[in-house]
Amino acid sequence: MSEAAAAPKRAPRASLGSPEGDDVFGAFDPRVARRFLAYLKPHRRSFIIAQVAVLFSAAGQLSMPLVIGWVTQSVIAHDVGRFHLALAAFAVAAAAFAAMFFLEEWLSQRLANRVIFDVRRHMFAHFQDISLSFMDKTHVGRLMSRLQGDVNSLQEFLENTTGAVGDFVQLIGIAVILVAIDVKLGLLTLTVLPALIGLRAIWLPYSKVAFRLARDASSTANSALAENINGVRTVQETRREALNFQLYAEKAQENFRAQAHAAWISQIMIPTVDILTGVALGIVVVVGGSEVLNSHLSVGVMVAFVFYVQKFFDPVRMLSMQYTIMQRAMAAAHRIFEVLDVPVTIADRPDARVLAVEAPTVEFRHVTFGYDPARPILHDVSFQVRPREVVALVGPTGSGKTSIISLTHRFYDVDQGQVLVGGVDVRDVSLDSLGRTIGMVLQEPFLFTGTIEENIRYNTEGASLETIVAAARAVSAHDFIMRLPEGYQTPLGQRGRNLSMGQRQLISFARALVADPQVLILDEATANIDSFTEQAIQKALKVLFAGRTCMVIAHRLATIRDADRIVVLQAGRILEQGSHDELMATDGLYRHLYTSAHASFDDEAVAATGDAEFATRT
């Protein structure tokens, strides 16, 4: 604030949040609709019952004015028998309507929720299968908005769709009844319909614009809120509260204006429909009344007519609301199917084997690979990791270390050559068995919400608490875990915020140990961990490596020196390999890296490559 006063002319270098900018409305697309119907198939029975119930409840509702007309007519005619008959008909119609309406809504809303969860699950499962490069490129927030926002739009549509069918049936039914009762009066009354359709056609483009603006404004405001929540500590540290509030208040104001405008646009149709109802009623009163006078029409029929005309516009109003919902759902469905259409490139072959090898080898045979095949990252890479051998991968950023470990786990498929684990091409084995053979510890440990115990167990469901404690002891995590307020039952804060980096690392080691894989792949943390934990980590690594075939992207000299063999990579090619002493004896890159001032084996060494990576990923 004070800065603002000091330099009022300069606009602050500040923004908050970023809008999504997706299309809000989609045109009706029969292909999308057909695909969507596939989700209804397993629930055909309740779907059909619901539709039948709609027909009955609409019929019940339709017959109501007619029945009331009969009642009126019978009392005018002083026919007691018919009067009682008409009352009985009323009771039947009312009971049928209430029961069928309950059945229709109860079934279709349950169905809507069920189908929505099926769609969401399908999408969620798809995210588990599609290529990591897609996942890397797409913000989690965006994926979540597919899983939540778009799915919710569909839910809204589905919950209302059975009702819409009912409205449509009623609309047609009323039109037919009006004409059936009295052709002239019926047709005359229906003349207001073209006027309504015309007015709606004028209104529609305005409403689209207004609704789009409203949604954009709300997503902009919400994204600003989310960002400020996620970064609230930084906001307070840098005293940005006032400025951020100002930025947010502008967006919230804008949202308010857009919502109010959209409300105005959507409400404007109400008087239009009401005036047209008035016109139709006027026609009935004047023309119908005259016909009654001329004895062409009975009073009862005219009463029925009045009620039908009043009812006629209810479904019209509902249907125009439905139309907007349908358009929103179409756009959402489009985006959902777009996600579902992302091909699964890595999948089990039909004849995939189960990989079960004791102490397997890992071998790369002439592997060429690139995320973009036109720009390979690995060029003709061949090397072997023998059973129970520890191999360190060393090289600057962009040299292809991460690609090698990703290919071993078959996160991606090679463009040329072969990756073999236990002598079998990874493409010939089932992904599940490959995943259980190969354990992986990532550079940045990721912990889930839950207790420490749950995090160490992860998906090794059979692991007992003893196994977990033993693993934690083996990686020297037991002591600090026991010092936590609830020991192994301590719930982790968001992403393990209540633990230090090193402690999180140790937990991820314990997780790998419990999974007990034959092959271990480890991407060593670059971060400088405190010496106390660092010692524990070095000890833990020895435990982890024991008896396993290991591949390590190493940054620590201690780790590199302890490896049985070192593979030195540069620009996607293997430059040299051998033990520390062997490599120091030759005058290669390793010796150069080791002795030069830039000798950290991490990302700072080749800045230019890092920049290229930055550019492609943002």
Partner: protein, 617 residues
């Protein structure tokens, strides 16, 4: 954590819903009071609703009158003059009907728009209040709550509370008005018929009231389970590499199914409850209507009532049908608003644990000396003592180093200086003034803290560096980036300082992120600099360059460096070795090494393990 307000940690499926029966009227009336802050709009909405209800009543009367006129005409002897008069009456009525429905339409538009406007206005107030409150609440609060939970409250719950105004309050008001007018009109015509016609109201009310309460409980549960599901999905996506690395697909889908089925069970329950309520209401309405037809019909048969009057009664009943259908929607949104509003107000009502003292004045530093005097600290009054009897002094131009194992309280010290938490004992002063006596804004402007984990915003690199002082000139931004050794990297980016940082800075390496946050800390030129392990991910060589540049930039300032790498702080004027919240050793690097204690061991260890490189350099 114990005595603090009950904020669900991610609201897992295990946490039982805390349903306070008495909360419903309190929460609802509080939302209503927010709307009352706009009395004129509120009044306008009510008046237009009232007039719209009145206009609605005119049409049935006119229709009934027309029918009776036509009927009279038919049953009596035909008089040509009469026929012309009746026709004129019909014409007049037709115009009046048109006028009445048009009027009703315009009034409905006005009240509908006003109520939507008002609800959006209240939403705006809630939104800005929520935003401000989140910025005011201290770290202690944010430590306890999951950010996803806050986002859910700020979006979905806020919408739920807003929907009460235009989805429940005004529809309920128009419903009551309409029912009252109908009752009044009906009473004027025939009290017995009125009793029969409106007899369903108490039954429908009772059935809906029961439903409303149970619906609220169910809604609350649905919302809690839904946020657990959201959390499960979000974490899966964020940790997708771990999931794949551990072949966790089946496991994750199992987790998803468990969470999703829990939501679905309660959604089903909600649907059954809601439509059972609707069913009860409709059945009672139709019983009333049926009885009305029977009674009225019998009276017409007996010649005690005209058919037009019966029609008028039925038309009134039909008029109620639409709004009555809305009752279920009204109750549904009331139930939702109660649980949503409760979750929202829970946050809005919290008092920030750290706030300006009533007589706080801006900090007026003279020399710039930071002192800790016998500081004790615990995060939770009932919890473990995190810091015990910490005392030190850092003068301007001096550097204090702090080292110690994880959990020894180093970061806590860093967070106490800008007063993100308040000390439990002792005091912290700047130039002799207790930091609790000055305004937070001036204190935090004076203290620059660089955290270990740098949070980067979804904005350009330049915006991120200039975050603490968005009005800073380009030269200062660039200078700060140079000090942090990140300028060359930024300059090499495709859009230089205008390049957008990916979500949560995924596209930058850990070291680059840390250097960005160091640059950010340097820009405003604070009087006290605190580095909380903020060079951990930077390699040793670059770190040395950063340190040298910082030494120049912060030469006249009090500096606190927390680090694991002893080389980062061995040049400090004083070094504290912390263990379990106590200072166990203190002195200069040389003194501590000479003493042969824990520090000396640590130095020995680090020289052996990792710092070969630095020796080589």
């Amino acid at each position: 954590m114990s005595e603090k307000p009950p904020i669900g940690r991610g609201a897992g499926p295990s946490s039982a819903p805390t349903v306070d029966v008495s909360a419903m009227p309190a929460v609802l009336s509080r939302i209503a009071r927010l709307a009352l802050r706009y009395p004129w709009r509120m009044a306008l909405t009510f008046v237009t609703s009232l007039l719209a209800a009145l206009a609605s009543l005119m049409a049935p009367q006119l229709i009934g009158g027309s029918i009776d006129a036509a009927h009279r005409m038919m049953t009596s002897a035909v008089h040509p003059g009469d026929a012309a008069a009746v026709k004129a009456l019909l014409m007049r009525n037709a115009f009046l009907i048109l006028a009445a429905t048009s009027l009703r339409g315009v009034l409905t538009l006005a009240s509908g728009y006003q109520s939507e406007y008002l609800s959006q206005r209240v939403a705006l107030d809630l939104r800005t209040a929520f935003f401000q409150q989140l910025q005011r609440l201290s770290f202690g609060f944010h430590d306890r709550i999951h950010s996803g939970d806050l986002i859910t409250r700020g979006m979905l719950d806020l919408e739920g509370a807003r929907a009460l105004i235009n989805g429940a309050i005004f529809p309920a008001v128009s419903l009551v008005l309409l029912a009252a007018f109908v009752a009044w009109r009906m009473l004027a015509l025939d009290p017995v018929m009125t009793l029969i016609g409106l007899g369903f109201i108490p039954f429908a009310g009772a059935s809906l009231g029961r439903m409303g309460f149970r619906l609220r409980v169910t809604w609350l549960r649905v919302q809690q389970l839904m946020s657990a599901l959201t959390l499960a999905m979000e974490e899966n996506l964020q940790g997708i590499r771990v999931v794949r690395a551990f072949a966790g697909r089946a496991f994750e889908l199992g987790k998803y199914d468990a969470a999703a089925n829990a939501v679905l069970t309660f959604q089903y329950r909600r649907i059954t409850l809601r439509f059972a309520g609707v069913l009860g209401m409709q059945v009672s309405f139709y019983i009333s209507l049926g009885l009305l037809l029977w009674y009225g019909g019998t009276k017409v048969l007996a010649g005690q009532m005209t058919p037009g009057r019966l029609t008028e009664f039925v038309a009134y009943m039909m008029l109620l049908l639409g709004p009555i259908r809305q009752i279920a929607i009204i109750f549904n949104s009331m139930a939702r608003a109660t649980s949503s509003g409760g979750r929202l107000f829970e946050i809005l009502d919290l008092q920030p644990e750290v706030a300006d003292a009533p007589n706080a004045e801006p900090l007026r530093p003279t020399e710039g000396t930071l002192r800790f005097e016998h500081v004790d600290f615990r995060y939770d009054p009932a919890g473990r003592q995190v810091l015990s009897d910490i005392s030190f002094e850092v003068g301007a131009g001096k550097t204090l180093g702090i080292v110690g194992p994880p959990g020894s309280g180093k970061s806590t010290i860093a967070n106490l200086i800008p007063r993100f938490y308040d000390v439990s004992g002792g005091r912290i002063t700047i130039d002799g003034t207790d930091i609790r006596e000055v305004t937070l804004a001036s204190l935090r402007e004076y203290v620059g803290l660089v955290q270990q984990e740098a949070f980067l915003f979804d904005a350009s690199v330049g915006h991120n560096v200039a975050y603490a002082d968005p009005w800073a000139e380009d030269a200062r931004i660039e200078g700060a980036a140079r000090t942090a050794q990140i300028h060359d990297h930024i300059a090499g980016l495709p859009g230089a300082y205008e390049t957008r940082v990916g979500e949560r800075g995924v596209a930058l390496s850990g070291g680059q992120r840390q250097r960005m946050s160091i640059a950010r800390g340097v820009v405003p030129g604070p009087g006290v600099m605190v580095f909380d392990d903020s060079t951990a991910a930077i390699d040793a060589v670059t770190e040395r360059k950063v340190r040298e540049a910082l030494a120049q930039a912060t030469a006249a300032k009090a500096t606190v460096i927390i680090a694991h790498r002893l080389s980062s702080l061995m040049h400090a004027d004083e070094i504290l070795l912390l263990d379990e919240g106590r200072i166990v050793e203190r002195g200069t690097h040389d003194e501590l090494v000479a003493r042969g204690g824990v520090y000396a061991d640590l130095f020995e260890l680090q020289s052996r393990m990792g710092s070969d490189l630095e020796d080589a350099a």
